[in-house]
Structures are given as structure tokens and as C-alpha cells.
């Protein structure tokens, strides 16, 4: 498939270094018009996929962050009640039908992400982030929207999609998603990147990081991930750390073992992990990286 290689190229131009399979997934999204469900550990770059996708299609990214208790009025639409009430006061004495017609018109409708995503001229990328945090009822509603791409607003009628968005869902596994939603979607598991790819990500994302330093960092992070940790560092942490090292003018990890040890706070986010990583441990891992 020619399209697939192009996608990988354009993703990397957008600053996202994808593994080969993700490019397949994105080409499938276009071909089959299905949403893409991304699962993986926190901090492996699931959300970044959607951002890269938006820049690949040169389109807008609309993001819906899910949380417990998210409901239709925060996700889909809401009437602007204050304006409606004011308007009723202002038109006091007019015909009741006219007022009703007026206040339930588009002018008084507040667009929320889901409605916004289907009313654009150009298909946007719709990112439904951490869908597992939303309630099950919301998931069912989402499923309906994703298959019909139309919304019915009782006071206004049915709004059909003018554009079918490219939908990306992410999940961290705090709750098991329903089988129905899973079946609707293409599935992609985002794993921690292998050393080479992580090094390329560092070079692409951190200004001033040389190829050899990036490779060293990627190797060390890879070794750290193999240790028994409470919280395994993700790609985001790696990038923070690389930026810190570059900022401190470290060119080679072996030249500055103390700086390396001190800046490990960028990677280790719990007290236990930090306590476990004594200078000897850092030195041992550094030795392996060489």
C-alpha cells in the first residue's frame, strides 16, 4: 500500500514517530470509516496520535476529555439558559409561539465537542480521551452517535453530520469497556517504544538533543523500565528528562553521572521508586548502557 508509507512519512513530519502498525491502523480508519481505539499504559503517547493525525489531515482537533459524571450537556449541547431567559423578558408581550421559536434556535444553542465535531465543513479529528473514565450510560450514548453520526435535539429536530470526523478514542483501562464499543472500533495497543524509536522521538521532540545522547537516554530509560517500579516512566517522562539533560548541557551521560542521578526525578514519580534508585543503581544501569 502506497498510502501507508505516505502516512508514516507525514506522521513523522508532524513530529510523531509511529511504529509501522500504527500507519496501517490510520490507513484502515480512512478506508473503513471506523473509529480507532487506542489502549496502552499512561504516557506512551496515545493522545499525541490524535494530534499528529490532525496535522496529517491538516484539520482541526476537537477534544473531549471524559470524566466521571460526564453527561450530554457537557459533551453534546446545552441551551444558553441565561440568554433565553433574558430574551423572554425582552420579548414580553410578543406571541408565545414566536418567542418559543426564537429562543430554541441555533443562536441559543451552545455547541459542545461532540456536536461541534459533526458540524464542521472539513472533517475534524475528534479525540475522545480516556473514555474509560466516563460512565457506562455515556458510553452507550457515544456508541449511538458514532454509528449514526446524527444528533436529535428535541426542541430543534435532528442534526445530521455535515462531516464525518476521524474519531480516536483512548483508554487507560480504569474500567472495562463494553464489547459493543470495542467491536465498533479498530483496536491498536500502544506499547512503550523500542530503543531506536524512542531515540528518534527524542531527536524529533527535544531541540538540541544529538543522536548519540538520544540513543543513550533511550537505552537507559529502557533499562529503567525493566526494573521493578511502582510507576513505569512513559515517553512523556523520557522527553522531560531529555529536555532537562540538554538544558543542563549534558552531552554524554557518562560524563555526568551525578547530574544523571539527580535529574532522575523526571522519570521516577513515586517515593518508593526514588528510594529504590540509589546512586549505585544508577551507576549500574549506566554501565549497562555503554
Amino acid at each position: 500500500m502506497k498510502g501507508r508509507d505516505q502516512i508514516a512519512e507525514r506522521l513523522s513530519a508532524a513530529g510523531y514517530i509511529a511504529d509501522g502498525e500504527l500507519a496501517t491502523a490510520i490507513s484502515l480508519m480512512q478506508l473503513l470509516r471506523r473509529p480507532l481505539l487506542l489502549e496502552g499504559e499512561a504516557g506512551v503517547g496515545k493522545t499525541e496520535v490524535a494530534k499528529a493525525l490532525a496535522s496529517l489531515h491538516e484539520t482541526e482537533l476537537i477534544r473531549l476529555q471524559c470524566y466521571e459524571g460526564l453527561d450530554q450537556s457537557a459533551a453534546l449541547y446545552e441551551w444558553n439558559y441565561q440568554r433565553q431567559l433574558l430574551s423572554i423578558q425582552a420579548h414580553r408581550g410578543d406571541d408565545a409561539d414566536d418567542i418559543e421559536h426564537l429562543i430554541f434556535s441555533e443562536r441559543y444553542l451552545l455547541e459542545r465537542p461532540l456536536l461541534a465535531a459533526i458540524r464542521r465543513d472539513k472533517s475534524p479529528v475528534l479525540l475522545i480521551d480516556e473514555v474509560d473514565r466516563a460512565d457506562e450510560e455515556f458510553e452507550a450514548f457515544l456508541l449511538e452517535l458514532l454509528s449514526d453520526f446524527q444528533v436529535s435535539i428535541p426542541e430543534l429536530g435532528t442534526i445530521k453530520a455535515t462531516s464525518i470526523p476521524h474519531v480516536v478514542l483512548t483508554s487507560n483501562g480504569t474500567r472495562e469497556l463494553s464489547d459493543a464499543l470495542r467491536r465498533r472500533c479498530l483496536y491498536h495497543y500502544v506499547a512503550y517504544p523500542e530503543v531506536d524509536r524512542e531515540a528518534r522521538i527524542i531527536v524529533a521532540r527535544v531541540a538540541g538533543a544529538g543522536a548519540s545522547l538520544a540513543l543513550q537516554i533511550a537505552r537507559l530509560v529502557n533499562a529503567i523500565r525493566k526494573e521493578d517500579l511502582r510507576k513505569v516512566p512513559g515517553v512523556a517522562e523520557t522527553l522531560d528528562w531529555a529536555a532537562a539533560l540538554v538544558g543542563l548541557d549534558v552531552r554524554d551521560l557518562h560524563d555526568a553521572p551525578e547530574t544523571v542521578h539527580e535529574t532522575l526525578t523526571c522519570l521516577l514519580k513515586t517515593h518508593e521508586d526514588k528510594a529504590k534508585f540509589r546512586p549505585e543503581v544508577t551507576a549500574r544501569l549506566l554501565g549497562k548502557v555503554a
Partner: protein, 401 residues
Amino acid sequence: MSCCGAPHDLDEIDQVSGLIARKLAAFLRTLRDSAFAIGLRESQDAAALIAAGYAEKPALLRSAFKHLFSARKTDWDKFDGIFDAFWLHTRVRSRSLTTGSAKAADNPSLKTLRDISQQAGSQPTTDQIPSTDDAADDRSGEGRNEGASRADNLSDTDFRTMAEPQQVEQAHAIAARLAKAMRARLTRRDLARRRGYRLDLRRTIHANISHGGVPIRLVKRRRKPKPLRLVVLLDASGSMSMYTGVFLRFIHGVLDEFREAEAFLFHTRLAHVSDAMKDKDAARALDRLSMLAQGAGGGTKIGESLQTFNRWHASRVIHSRTCVMIVSDGYETGDAALLGREMAQLARRCRRIVWLNPMMGWEGYAPEAAGIKAALPHVDLYAPAHTLNALAALEPYLAKL
């Protein structure tokens, strides 16, 4: 659902030859037998993929199918093995398998199982348990031995008695009472609330239509009550064998009566048994359980089991309204310090931990085992429970928790 594969596909795609279509249908059947959820839409999309040129290279087709057919991580992990065994066998597999897969229609489940066991010998049995009877007959020598030893363990730990109708009924009744008592409890958040939540404008306006839209009666947003979830971790080691049957019955009731419940079994390792126990077919449920419970009746590594739980299951299974119930005698054969650490970790995640200890019913028992000593500081309720009746007597305490 399993019968919708071939004929529809044949109609859908005239670009591809009938041979590929038939082969594809057989592949879909293989996947379904491996517990992939594949319906008509997926079949059509698969055909569309082939028509769109994704079949040029095996690796590309594999990657495309993997995205299309997988629905969760376990699917994702085992897909490559199944795909390679089915499509690439001419190069990497023996001829006997080739003929087997071409006639997959006869008994696909057998074939799938064999493929997987050859392809990925390390595949953990917890992930998929196809009908065991077929499997045991046709497995290689090693598999058969394992099966036999499992069966022995099973009769020792007396899981079978849980099928007695009277006791099942009693267990369900107790679980139902417990579910009711624990459900009604208010959370601290509800008690601490004074001024209520944000104003719900939509409902406020609706409620005040009769006043001409002047908001006299205000409606506030309410939190939706979240049902309590009970997670039971049952020790199925040798020292507990007298009680395993009783508590399995209870767990069965819990899974039925609580709106949200999960069950785990542990001895030297941890197994997630909710799905197996929810099986409508009682006999099959027992079969699946016995597969999962391999090694039951031996020593106990509570600490390691909890570590597995904390690392792989806790984030999914535990939410803000979860009560974890550990049923064990606390005789840890592993590292007691590890148990202490993992209990602390668990206690940080969930505020309610109940430890039921059957041994406590014995006269003169004191919690002196190293394991229980390490765990007790993190437990909210530590109580005896050795029969269903003792469990029922706990109801008021559990309700208060």
C-alpha cells in the same frame, strides 16, 4: 452469529476469487473459536480490505486484520500467532496442519487450540479456555499430563459440592442480603455535603414553567449513586481446602446478586475467575474453574498473588466505591514482608478491606502467623467466617463498613 460467515462474504466480494473468500470465512471461524467477537460487519470489512490491496504482503494483511479483529489487549497479543498458523503454515507449519486448516469446518475448535498450543507454548491458560473436554483428548502428551493433575487437585479441594441446589440457594440468599445491606450505605461525600451541588438550569426551568419561568424552586445537580463493588480474593490453598467449597458458593452468590462484583482465586498465583463463574452452564463453569485453579491445594503465596493483583487488575477492578474482601487463613509460605508492602499498596487504593479468616472460629486461635501479622494493620475489618451461617452473622458489620 457463528454461522454468518461464508455465504454473505461470497455475495459481497466478486473481485476476489471464491477460494480466498472461503479461506477467509474459515479464518474468521478460527478467530471466533478463539473468542474473538466477529460479526457480519467485520467479515465485510475484511473482504473490503482484501479487495483494497491489503493482501499484497502477509505482514501488511496481518497488521490490518489485527487492528480490525482485535478488541482488547489479550486479542492483540495472541492474534499474530493465530494468523501465522492459519495463513503462513505452508512455510512454517507441517503438512498435517495444512490439511487440518483447510477443512476447518469439521471441528474448528480443535484446530485452533492445537495451533495455539504449538504456536505459543507459553500462552497462559487464564486467557482463554475453550471447551476442555475436546482439548484434553487431542492435546500433546505434556498437555494431557497437566490435565490429569488438575483433575486430582479439583477433587481434593472439593469444588464439586458447590453444585448442591440447597446450599447454592442459601449462598445466594446470604449474598443477596449482604448486597442489600452494603448498597444502602451513604458515602462520606454524601454526609459531608451541606449546600448541594451546582444548579441544574435545565431542570430548574422545566420545574418552574408553571411560575411563568421565574425560578422559584431551584433544582440542584445530584451525584448519581454508584453501586458498591465487591471484589473477593479467595485463598484456595491446601490449608484452606475445608472452606474453599463454602466460599466458592458464596462467591457465586455475590457475582449474581451484586450489581458489580469480581472474584479472584489465589494460591501460589492469582487467577481471575469472574467470567468462568458467571458461565450459565454450571458444568462448564466448573470445568473452566478447574482449569484456572490448577495448583490449588498447595502452598500459599499471598504476597505474590496480591502483587499480581495490584499490578495487573487493581486499576481496572477497583474504583472509589469498592470493598475488597480477602478470605484466607494467612498462612503465608512466601515472603511476609512482601505481603505487608502489598497490603499497604492495596489499602492506599481502596479504603475498605475485609479479611475473613476461617481459623478465627477455632478455640484458642491467635493471629500469630507471620502473614496475618503483616497484613492486619491495613485491614478495616478482621472477622471469623467458616460457614455460610457465620458469614450471614457478619452482615451488620459489613453494612457499617
